[in-house]
Amino acid sequence: MDSCVNEPAVAMTPTNPLRSLPDTAAFADLYDEHSKAVYYLALRFLADPQKAEDVTHDVFLKVYRKLGEFHGDSSVRTWLYRITINHCQNLKQSWSSRNLISTADDAIWNTTAAPAESPLHALETKELGERIQKALDALSEEYRLLLLLVADEQLSYDEVAALTDQTADAVRGKLHRARKAFAVHFAKTA
């Protein structure tokens, strides 16, 4: 983690409205723990904040309805990522079949900054986020997904390999090239 960033000792988390429903405390806990990871993966994979919101909503609604299908063979995080990846890939297939492009624009990007940030910090985050998105967009879908999954410290290489249907050795090999390609494209965004 970046040691240069001063983060508040206690995060100000607004009350999750899911807790207002009867019998959903545990589900609300699950949402609080994993929704950020799901949203971030969808956001950077699809490059569309509105679609990322839709995916996050749909993934957790599916999880709520299909909990009986979770057998504990993998971690909850891995299970959530698998649903998210499938959902994102289906969306992308749908887009390409219709020859549509991303609808992300500056106005939408403004909504991705944390609400408690100062204006300067928000501007900085927006610019950095845009540069990261441009660099990721320049990569193949496979490289983009590998970089995003490996950046999650909760996932092992074996779990990333399982999520991307390849061996851990293949992940390591491709990751090396993906990191290098990202660095080159990121440099071009300056």
Partner: protein, 72 residues
Amino acid sequence: MKHESKQRSQEQEQLSQFTAPQATREFAATDELLRHDAAQTDVPPAVAERLTQSIAKLPKPSRSWWERLWKR
């Protein structure tokens, strides 16, 4: 091995050269940059609100959330 570390240092150099103009911030590697980006990206509160509304509209299950998960 030398080849690998050379490529790694080139990557680090390319990442560290480019920082936001408002503040000096350096990232040693792609993973670190993406983790920082992820930490700065919050889920819009509207998602939890929409999800709450969607769940409230679902037919009530015969068993609770935890019963469905653990008492199958």
